[in-house]
């Protein structure tokens, strides 16, 4: 096994906001209907996080649990911990209908930072950022591809599919170019 490499190997760009590709991050798609016995325990066991409410993301240290749809959660954790977390989820949801899969490598993750970080995303997503609530995980699109993002630590974290990481980096860079502040 070689070291896992992220799609863009940590590419970065400094414009009126600072962009960098981070990761690889451990990510698990957990599908189960709300109220499935053991679901809260599974999320807790995998991430240490409480169950997120609708469209919210709960963070706990390096881990997070985000609400993706009524029967889908995105669990974020250190890359190396995925196998262990999957096992713990399996135990907690033993006998319950669910699906937990490793999607760490199917994704690319970006940080957009700086006082005007929101402006970069305002150019790409049909989302009312003035109304984006704290800890709200918003799924939408960035220009022509699917993206999910949330605000944290003086910026935004954006997740997209790995194959379009270069496209998304291009979008973010063009949007963050100096002189293009909104």
């Amino acid at each position: 096994m070689s070291d896992p490499v992220s799609a863009l190997q940590g590419a970065s760009y400094d414009g009126f906001a600072q962009l960098r590709e981070i990761g690889p991050l451990g990510m698990i798609t957990l599908r189960a209907k709300a109220g499935t016995p053991g679901l809260e325990a599974a999320v807790q066991a995998a991430t240490g996080c409480a169950m997120p409410q609708m469209r919210r993301i709960v963070r706990q240290g390096p881990c997070a649990a985000g609400w993706m749809s009524p029967d889908e959660l995105l669990l974020i954790l250190p890359y190396a911990d995925v196998a262990g977390a999957l096992a713990r989820i399996g135990e907690a949801l033993q006998g319950q209908h669910h699906l937990a899969v490793d999607v760490s490598d199917a994704r690319a993750v970006f940080r957009i930072e700086g006082a005007k970080a929101d402006q970069v995303l305002r150019k790409l997503s049909p989302v009312d950022f003035d109304r984006l609530e704290p800890n709200e995980l918003r799924r939408s699109r960035a220009a022509q591809v699917a993206a999910a993002f949330w605000a944290e630590e003086g910026g935004f974290t954006l997740v997209c599919f790995r194959s379009v990481a270069g496209y998304v980096m291009g979008l973010l860079s063009v949007s963050a170019r100096p002189g293009a502040e909104l």
Binding site: M54, S69, P70, E72, P126, R139, S140
Partner: protein, 107 residues
């Protein structure tokens, strides 16, 4: 460009975040059905000027299919509701009746 509220995640999604799915409340006819029933299921679609029920998927969002009641002439949206519905919810039907007295009702 339409805005429809996704009943699953509460987002007022704009049309570019949605994928259209045609007429709602179709009944599937499989093997054993006669030609007329199958033809109706497959091809015969309502095309009203006025109240219409349709399928939409919150494709760039929570990924869920939902149904919308909409006026095709004015684009007024009467409401959206989960795809797991065999007919429009009563409150939406009542709202449409109030706003469109000439509407003949869901059939």
């Amino acid at each position: 460009m339409l805005i429809l509220s996704c009943p699953y995640c509460g987002i007022d999604a704009e049309e570019t975040e949605l994928a259209p799915g045609g007429e709602a409340h179709l009944k599937r006819f499989g093997p054993g059905s006669d030609d007329d029933a199958f033809e109706a299921y497959m091809f015969a679609r309502k095309n009203p000027k006025g109240v219409h029920f349709e399928r939409w998927r919150h494709a760039y969002g929570c990924g869920k299919w939902f149904l919308a009641a909409r006026c095709t002439a004015t684009l007024e949206v009467f409401g959206t509701y989960p795809a797991q519905s065999t007919e429009p919810p009563v409150e939406i039907v009542e709202k449409i009746k109030a706003k469109r007295p000439e509407w003949k009702g869901f059939s």
